[in-house]
Symmetry: D3
Subunit: 105 residues, 6 copies
């Protein structure tokens, strides 16, 4: 789908996609921390697609269960109980990511 958007030849959209890559790259703040920030922002803005995206990145960065659930708890507290159904899906997806690891071994 990104190809279809990029093939539209709209400069603004291309640059936004480009910025997104740059903003989450390693810098003064580590990728690991940035992905926790991205995860929490996606949770308070309540959007499953972005939550899954950042959970995948957090998994690649080797975040532990304890770390993930502390981020989950901040996001649920700040964003309110309206976040809970997203928290359920996030927990399910996080567990599936860990399961895939175990199966790959």
């Amino acid at each position: 789908m990104n190809e279809q958007i990029l093939s539209s030849d709209n400069k603004i959209l291309k640059r936004i996609f480009n910025l997104d890559t740059n903003a989450f790259a390693d810098g003064a703040v580590a990728v690991r921390t940035k992905e926790m920030i991205g995860l929490a922002c996606s949770m308070v803005l309540r959007f499953d697609d972005c939550i899954k995206y950042h959970l995948g990145k957090c998994h690649s960065e080797g975040l532990t269960d304890e770390e993930i659930f502390e981020v989950f708890s901040i996001a649920t507290l700040v964003g309110g109980t309206i976040v809970i159904p997203h928290l359920r899906k996030a927990t399910e997806y996080w567990n599936s990511l860990k399961l895939m690891d175990q199966n790959a071994k």
Copy 2:
């Protein structure tokens, strides 16, 4: 004002206040990282009062300009240009915090 809320003797509210303190305490994720998360969440939810609160904490945690502006850039990118006026106020407040430091020396 917190006193007035707490004097209302409403248990739910008292516990929420208590949870807020616990969620941002040191744990598997460091206070420093948690405050960056809190700052970014407040920016995408566009609320100056909470932005200031977390900027104060980030300042106490010794965050550098480079770190703060990387958090600002993620929040503005994720949250959109609607965040920009809040970014302006956040920058102004961050600079005032640094100035107070210099004056205290």
Copy 3:
């Protein structure tokens, strides 16, 4: 200011204003309950102007402190700690409404 909006002679806006009056009028659901609903919605949508408006109505309907703080606690729990600064202003305004009553006696 409403006069300026109404003098614009825009039918849609006039009808929205009219609907607003009707929706909160007495019906199958009592005014008292509707105003608690309006208050909670304004809090989770985080807007001080509307919170004050519905607090005024709740005061006229004779809501007790216990009732108001139960509505506050549901709204803060559902909407998250991002609601807390609005909760502080709401508590302050509610207390000022009660004080005005005492002074009027």
Copy 4:
């Protein structure tokens, strides 16, 4: 899924779940009214999962069609026409709850 979240042994999340139960329990404000408040908040925050949850509770509390549609109308008016697709799903779910009742007889 709640089990997975609770098994994470994260205190903040456990307490938020606990608070959620307490906040909607009978108190100065009746359960019936609290569920109407929860329903309206879920609608203006536009989240089908929570709307369904509170509709189920409203059904258990014996709310009438007239009452439900008055809550729907306040939420749609306050939240705007962006709420309408959620209103459609809510109406469909409400009707299915009533149908299950009739079939159970």
Copy 5:
């Protein structure tokens, strides 16, 4: 589903539905422009159902790819990268609308 809502005989909801038709009708601002506005608002409020509805209308109004992607880019910039997954679905739906046209020829 609209029939079920309208059959509820709730005046407020009927009038909101009616207003919706009127607000997007031809006036000082052309339907074509109003549909671009409706599309952009649905994108920043991040709701796929309403995005699809206004994309259908934009298609009937004969909007070009260039125009649609300029509206997409404003909405994504104002609303932030949290809008991107909605942008993907919008692009997919827009392409399907164009394909249906070609097949109809």
Copy 6:
């Protein structure tokens, strides 16, 4: 304040500011239409600072009262009555812009 942000030498923020200028420039969609879109988006996202900014641009583009109030009515209908206090401030600001014109003659 923009100077302070730009002097931070954060590339992401600089590019977002740059994109903002480009996205609202004349293109397949006219500036006039883009500013109506920007105004409506700012209203449904309920942010006075951005509403004022786009009202200023709409004024420079020579929008009539009828046009502005049709945009206002779409935004208030889509965004709900929670938008009304912003509508009041927008109407007041629009009138002040017209008054400045008359005084300048």
